[in-house]
């Protein structure tokens, strides 16, 4: 075989490509010989953590993945649920952390591009995206650069594509200083019957590569390493940054959907991580077939590319389709109509082998399904991290608490101005939020609401994770991530249908890190089971380490809920003077991990708020029944900053104040800023108050009527009294202020 490696060199190269010696031995065993260079690259990528989930696979089995509405669970490019009236929604979240840390604009942009390809691969038209972001604190110029760049990149890609960005979340914490998180979620819509699979089948069918040319993008790291030792001449160091081309992707969306609609394809897959190797071997593995691919047929962007480079390139905006020879001309005509390249690069075989050739010469030949299915699965060691006892034993009650109304008012404005609480408008103003005309609730409320055009229905979507809680208690933190997403969706009137997740952790080979991962998966699973909400897709991102220590465990949840009647949707904005303000749920003194502690005392410690899942569920059900009965005029959950921040946000959004009396017997700080879970600030018309309270009684959920909407101040009896304009002045300009006065990104200087 061409590209042969000597038995002496191969194990060394294998280690340099990230394979463990035992993994290399397994490859030799599968092949019955030393792998060729191309084979070794292909295995090393497919058996990498990113593609094989070798450290997480077992833990992920805890997730509930089935349910009445699930049309496609984990295992395909995206999960799919039925949302009624024959419509289905596909969604998934994915990380692009490491590329974004090198080049934030392109890293984030190509992250959006990748997740959107996962959606239309399923036959769904991308209809919305969300993003979950984590950075270090913005007093550091590098963090500002990353933040500005990532936001610009997300907007730059999504806006050009014409997919609205409707929500997300962002936190700033020193824990992410050396390792930002950029998680992108995309959602698509389709008729149920159009659900497709990334599968190759039918001996003699043709493999068609559609879209962009193939360059050496994304293989800089590994290939430079290898080329120094094994190539004739040391290649110049190439940056492994991929540049996104959203225009090409827009054409791909239109062409692929037209191809699928016309029934012209046998299967369709996207090229993501590990490029052609991954999509081709997964499609072959699903179909139980073999593939024969000739790299000389692949349109190259650069000269003298090697077979392995073609096979592992991560050039963006490419799709792989399987077509019958009879439909080839029609399929290629559709691509041409959309101005896209399409090239037959190989065919489906009945041998079950993945053969790669360069012209006449075979450079790789292996059992196709061993790439995707035979990757090792590990049972990593785990130990409860030592830091937990220390942080959890901290008692927030040992710190002094403000009691004077003037001090409390100052604390409220400080918390409102905290980068983790303040208005996110600076971010989403850079995103097209409305294209496609489905966004009924724009970003800025708890969940975005998107209508299912042509029906009365809508979906509500939110992505959430408080990493600080997960750091203090990974099990509870992950439960809260789920509960908060469900709560945000419920506040809009959506009944949770399914979630996707993106699990961001440090190095899983460290037992303490793996323990936090395992606990988080367990917490999220338990919450999902209690709510009867399945996990239909997701992504794991390990090795997120910041200067040698892991980031906060950050298991982000992306939740989609359904509103049967879109006109019943609710936002957080207070509406009319005289409306009655109700607090659903009961406040306890739970200051551990709170924004108050962090902002006022600079402390991140204590036990996070408890999550009593049955109570949480009862409250969501009560809220949803009330919304569906048309009794609720606004609803907003209490998250970071507690009830005081929730009230302030409702008032700012509605441009109208409130007079409130909190009837707990806690001290003022706990009453205002405790982050007890399962609480919702809602309003109803005065004449509906009785019906609403009756409904809550019948649900046996704790609630209290706390006040009335009106005026231009937020007055909380005995505690504080602040003008609306003072609240807005604290909450609105923080992000813009933090990034202003600073050097703008060089990206911004690029035309276009």
């Amino acid at each position: 075989m061409r590209d042969d490696l000597s038995p002496e060199l191969a194990p060394t190269l294998a280690v340099e490509l990230g394979l463990k010696p035992a993994e290399f031995d397994k490859i030799v065993e599968i092949l019955g010989r030393t792998p060729s260079l191309t084979e070794l690259y292909m295995y090393s990528l497919m058996w990498s953590e990113h593609c094989s989930y070798k450290h997480s696979k077992k833990a992920l089995r805890m997730f509930p993945t089935t349910g009445e509405y699930v049309l496609q669970g984990p295992g395909e490019n995206a999960g799919v649920i039925s949302v009624g009236d024959g419509w289905a929604v596909a969604f998934k979240m994915e990380s692009h952390n490491h590329p974004s840390a090198i080049e934030p604009y392109q890293g984030a942009a190509t992250g959006v591009g990748g997740i959107i390809r996962d959606i239309f691969t399923m036959g769904a038209r991308p209809m919305a995206s969300l993003n979950s972001l984590r950075f270090g604190t913005l007093d550091n110029p590098r963090q500002r650069y990353l933040f500005e760049g990532a936001v610009a990149g997300i907007g730059g890609y999504g806006n050009c594509l014409g997919v609205p960005t409707v929500g997300g979340e962002v936190y700033f914490d020193a824990a992410y200083e050396g390792n930002c998180l950029i998680n992108a979620m995309a959602i698509g819509i389709m008729r149920e019957e159009n659900l497709t699979s990334a599968v190759a089948s039918g001996t003699g069918n043709l493999v068609l590569l559609i879209g962009s040319t193939t360059g050496r993008d994304g293989i800089g790291g590994a290939s430079t390493l290898a080329s120094q030792e094994f190539d004739e001449k040391a290649e110049d160091k190439r940056p492994s940054v991929q540049v996104g081309d959203p225009f090409e992707e827009k054409l791909l969306i239109e062409a692929c959907l037209e191809l699928l609609e016309g029934g012209l394809l046998v299967g369709l897959g996207d090229l993501g991580a590990a490029g052609l190797t991954s999509s081709a071997s997964e499609m072959a593995s699903r179909g139980g077939v073999g593939l024969d691919i000739d790299v000389t047929k692949i349109p190259a962007r650069e000269d003298a590319m090697k077979p392995f480079e073609f096979m592992v390139s991560e050039s963006q905006e490419r799709m792989l389709a399987v077509v019958t020879p009879e439909r080839l001309d029609e399929a290629q005509a559709v691509c041409t109509k959309w101005g896209l390249r399409s090239t037959v690069i190989g065919r489906v075989t009945g041998t079950g082998r993945f053969v790669v050739r360069e012209g006449d010469e075979i450079v790789a030949d292996m059992p196709a399904d061993t790439l995707a299915s035979d990757a090792p699965v590990y049972d990593p060691a785990m130990t409860r991290p030592a830091y937990l006892d220390e942080v959890q034993s901290f008692d927030p009650a040992t710190l002094p608490r403000e009691t004077d109304p003037a001090d409390l008012a100052r604390v409220l404005t400080r918390v409102l101005a905290s980068p983790n609480v303040c208005s996110r408008a600076w971010i989403y103003r850079q995103y097209d939020q409305q294209v496609m005309l489905n966004t009924l609730v724009l970003p800025g409320s708890d969940a975005a609401v998107l209508r299912i055009a042509g029906t009365a229905r809508a979906i509500a979507v939110s992505s959430d994770c408080n990493g600080r809680y997960c750091y203090l208690d990974p099990y509870v933190g992950a439960q809260i991530a789920f509960a908060e997403a469900a709560r945000n969706v419920a506040c809009a009137g959506g009944r949770p249908a399914a979630i996707t997740d993106c699990l961001n952790f440090g190095n899983p080979e460290k037992p303490e890190v793996f323990w936090t991962f395992h606990e988080s998966v367990r917490g999220m699973s338990d919450a999902c089971k209690a709510f009867g909400v399945p996990v239909i897709s997701g992504n794991v991102s390990f090795y997120n380490e910041s200067f040698g220590s892991p980031i906060y465990p950050t298991p982000t949840v992306g939740l989609v809920g359904v509103l049967e009647d879109a006109s019943k949707r609710v936002t957080m904005a207070f509406r009319d003077a005289g409306d009655v303000v109700v607090l659903l749920g009961e406040t306890a003194d739970e200051m551990g991990g709170s924004e108050y502690l962090s902002v006022v005392h600079g402390v991140i410690a204590g036990a996070p708020p408890a999550l009593v899942i049955e109570e949480e569920l009862a409250i969501h059900r009560a809220l949803l029944d009330a919304i569906e009965a048309g009794l609720v005029k606004s609803a907003h959950d209490c998250s970071e900053g507690g009830v005081a921040v929730a009230l302030a946000e409702c008032a700012i959004a509605g441009r109208i104040g409130a007079f409130v009396a909190l009837d707990d017997d806690l001290d003022a700080v706990a009453s205002l800023f405790s982050e007890t879970q399962g609480r919702i600030v809602l309003t109803c018309a005065d004449e509906d108050a009785e019906a609403l309270t009756d409904l809550f009684f019948s649900h046996e959920v704790p609630f209290s009527v706390i006040g009335e909407v009106g005026g231009e101040r937020l007055a909380i009896e005995d505690k504080l009294d602040v003008t609306l304009s003072a609240l807005s002045e604290a909450w609105v300009p923080t992000l813009e202020g933090l990034v202003a006065g600073d050097a703008p990104l060089s990206e911004q200087l690029v035309e276009g």
Partner: protein, 230 residues
Amino acid sequence: MRFGVVRFPGSNCEQDVVIACRYLGIDVDYVWHGDTDLAGFDAVVLPGGFSYGDYIRCGAVARFSPVMAEVIRFAERGGPVLGICNGFQILCEAHMLPGAMLRNRGLKFICETVPLRVEPSVCGWVGVPSGTVLRIPINHNEGNFTVDPETLSRLEAGGQVVLRYCEPDGTRAPGGSAPNGALDDIAGICNESGNIFGLMPHPERVVDPEANGTDGQSFFTSVVERMAGV
């Protein structure tokens, strides 16, 4: 009365215009950028989005689409042509309207609903009295309209300035009300005879009262009414 909405490679608001027209009961269909025939259409819309990615300059490539020669002929015969956002940029690139778009002041993409004042103009696409303040979303990176001083005076004198960014009460801030920095707060202009109209805001996004408002309706219905002689 039938609207034709041109689909350029990369357009992404063409479906929105079609949905908006249908919502308003207007007969509408797509026109492919490669077509060379506008027979059967009574008005043409160049929609928003990013034609050809707008990588070189917004609208620079789309202007050369085969259909554009026909759009120019259609307009010369007095046919109503509306360019929304990228469509406006294409009209400028094609010299069907004067001026050009620079990057937004601040170099950020801006998506937000803004107040706009309807100016007294000769524009045939406007269906509300001048002085009306409308709230319509803008959504662009390059909407910072610029034009040389002589042409600006000509636009003013000829009633060709159709829409201006303004404060919520309809006044213009001394330092300018345009979030993108546009010259003289200009958000939309028309040609001398008023049949070609380009605007940066997206009226098709505010047509359905169930979704975000109705302030954009009149831009679509006025032409229909005028043609029907209402």
